[in-house]
């Protein structure tokens, strides 16, 4: 897995609360057996009208936001379905981080597993970033994972929380499945000390 530490990027504002994963990637796109095309399908029903034409007022369609890699969104981002296709779609659309005041649990976990950084800031900072994104399209901010800071254009740094394990895995490109596989003897121990509850192959 790729290592992530510090990166800079332009902002994409989406000041809507409770953006659910059905909006991020509608269910009809979940029939895929891999991850390709999801980037093109991100926010599909907010992005395209009934005839398939791009809606001019949606941020992903606006030329001035092309190449922006940091989404700034309203609270409870990623609520609803557990579909990991949501962070896959956002990353496919070129995003590397989402900034909000809070994230739904499953989405946050899924994002961290894929290297899409969920950055939690307070309401005031979020409002500032939204305004910045809307007013100055050239502005870049810098996210530093090791320091857990977001650096704003005026030089100010704001700290964000992240659990130390996720941080460690992202900084070092550690594969979590590999980590779990290395615990084989602990799992064997657990199984020998605990009765198996059900056997699906029994019938």
């Amino acid at each position: 897995m790729e290592k992530i530490n510090t990166f800079s990027g332009r902002l994409m504002p989406l000041p809507i609360n409770d953006i659910d994963t059905d909006q991020i990637i509608p269910a009809r796109f979940l029939k895929t057996t891999d991850k390709t095309d999801l980037g093109k399908q991100a926010f599909f029903d907010w992005r395209y009208d009934a005839d398939g034409n791009p809606k001019a007022d949606f941020v992903l369609n606006q030329p001035e936001y092309q190449g922006a890699t940091i989404l700034v969104a309203g609270h409870n981002f990623g609520c609803g379905s557990s579909r990991e296709h949501a962070p896959w779609a956002l990353m496919g659309a070129g995003l590397r981080a989402v900034i909000s005041t809070d994230f739904a649990d499953i989405f946050r976990n899924n994002a961290l597993k894929n290297g899409l950084i969920p950055v939690i800031v307070d309401e005031e900072t979020k409002q500032q970033l939204i305004s910045l994104a809307q007013e100055d399209l050239s502005v870049e901010i810098t996210i530093n994972l090791a320091d857990q800071t977001v650096q704003l254009p005026d030089g100010r740094k704001v700290t964000f929380p992240i659990d130390s394990f996720s941080k460690y895995c992202l900084l070092n490109g550690v594969d979590q499945l590999g980590f779990l596989l290395s615990l084989e003897s602990e799992v064997v121990d657990y199984e020998s000390n605990n009765q198996q509850r059900i056997a699906t192959t029994a019938l």
Partner: protein, 482 residues
């Protein structure tokens, strides 16, 4: 029996502690053992591919079960007894799922076979879901199984790969919230109305970071199916999991099911399960209460499950909201839904009624809907789809003659699957259509692009089907309204 213990623990803590493979530390999450892993066709392909790429086996196929449910058609079977899959992409996904389960040795209920159904319906009905277990699935409504006093929650596809390969999961310990519902439900008011009431109270982010434990006399009075309805929608309140302490109702439900323990093993299991309820004096990190005595049938008016109200209330007015963001959100929702501030929903003409989903598609739900529809017809111009949660539910409903009631009323009696809850299989709303739905999500486009969903109970849905407009079920006479 109240036992005083020196270190009182909640139901959640007991189940959590019993499944620790490696404890949580300052720098690492806990590693939890998973007793049962349920898989379906939509969230597993990339996980199986990961295992293949790495040359890994599924560690415990005997603790894994697959079913086909999300993208499967519910069209009544043809003269060859086959349910045809017309969508090429869905076909490919289902074929790949079949191949994956075969290659990795996972038992799987295929489309059209006798035990197939929605993943959160088949687990409990087979007796696989039992108190005190950890249960996961790549589906957020896995919280359903918490009704049995299991710790059950949804996971992403990467985590599906983790569990397939190691039977373990990395988890930080969540906080706990007591959700107390005391009182007695009035006639016409159901478990679905309880959970819609709770989510309306706390909002869709109210439970983030928590596991709920539902308690109180109204919860105790519920059947297992009612408890499943409530636990199912825990995720809509932001909680990953919701639990109900097991009791005799639970044991009676599990007893005798295909995978339930038997004989001496059964007695041992029940004795262990009786130790699970939260101890006297156990503390929770937070608490919310709802008074069941005051509850009336609920309905959602907006575009998330928290935008709900009593069916007799009026749609809120964005201008009456103090917070700017909330006002904008409500305005956006009402625009999408084509509703006016302060309007009543009663009498709102609808196009479709969907009775189904992992929330409300079990035999108890179908019995309620059938009681309401018995001897009546659905209104002209309303499409009514009744989708049983599993082939087993379907058979039982047919034994009881419920299918005849539905068909005679003019409703469609379908095969089992997720169907119009997620609208991946062709069962969907056309843009602008209104549906009263017994499912769990009313997000924009959830039931079809441009579709407009009112979430409600099976009674409300059936009553609305008869009139062709949103109807308070208490206004329709039923022999017994419980």
């Amino acid at each position: 029996m109240i036992r005083t213990v020196s270190n009182p623990r909640t139901l959640f803590e007991k189940v959590w502690n019993q499944h620790i493979v490696k404890p949580q530390t300052d720098s690492t999450p806990a590693v939890l053992y998973i007793d049962l892993h349920l898989v379906h066709e939509v969230t597993s392909p990339q996980a199986f591919t990961e295992l293949r790429t790495r040359g890994l086996k599924v560690r415990r196929p005997d603790q894994t079960l697959g079913t086909m449910d999300h993208s499967t058609p519910t069209t009544p079977r043809n003269e060859f007894g086959i349910i045809p899959v017309l969508d090429a992409q869905a076909n490919k996904q289902l074929d790949q799922f079949t191949q994956n389960c075969k290659d990795f040795g996972i038992p799987m209920y295929s489309l059209g076979t006798e035990n197939q159904g929605i993943v959160h319906v088949i687990g409990p009905e087979q007796g696989l879901t039992q108190p005190g277990m950890t249960i996961v699935c790549g589906d957020s409504h896995t919280s359903t199984h918490g009704a049995f006093g299991a710790l059950a929650f949804g996971i992403g596809t990467s985590e599906v790969a983790h569990v397939l390969a190691t039977q373990t999961l990395l988890q930080y310990r969540p906080k706990t919230m007591a959700v107390r519902v005391d009182g007695t439900l009035a006639p016409g008011v159901t478990a679905k109305d309880i959970i819609l009431g709770i989510i309306a109270k706390i909002g869709v982010g109210g439970g983030t970071g928590y596991v709920f434990e539902y308690m109180g006399s109204a919860i105790r009075s519920l059947s297992m199916e009612g408890r499943m309805t409530i636990c199912n929608m825990s995720i809509e309140g932001g909680a990953r999991a919701g639990m109900v302490a097991p009791d005799d109702t639970t044991f009676e439900y599990v007893a005798g099911r295909p995978y339930a323990p038997q004989g001496a093993d059964w007695d041992r299991s029940v004795a262990a399960w009786r130790q699970l309820p939260s101890d006297e004096g156990a503390t929770f990190d937070n608490e919310v209460t709802l008074n069941a005595d005051e509850l009336v049938p609920m309905i959602t008016y907006g575009t998330n499950p928290g935008m709900g109200m009593p069916i007799t209330a009026r749609v809120p007015d964005p201008m009456a909201t103090g917070d700017y963001n909330e006002r904008m959100a409500l305005d956006k929702a009402l625009t999408y839904m084509g509703l006016q501030p302060n309007q009543s929903l009663l009498g709102k003409k609808i196009d479709v009624v969907f009775i189904g989903s992992c929330t409300n598609s079990r035999i108890g739900d179908l019995r309620l809907a059938a009681k309401m529809l018995d001897g009546r017809k659905v209104a002209d111009g309303v499409r009514v789809m009744v989708v049983p949660g599993s082939q087993q539910v379907k058979r039982q409903a047919e034994e009881e003659g419920l299918d005849k009631v539905f068909k005679q009323a003019g409703a469609e009696w379908r095969e089992a699957g997720c169907s119009m809850c997620i609208a991946m299989n062709g069962d969907q709303l056309a843009p602008g259509q209104y549906a009263v739905s017994t499912s769990n999500r009313n997000f924009e486009g959830r039931q079809g692009k441009g579709g407009r969903t009112f979430l409600a109970s099976p009674l409300t849905a059936a009553a609305s089907a008869i009139n062709g407009y949103v109807t308070d079920p208490r206004e329709m006479y039923m022999p017994e309204m419980a």
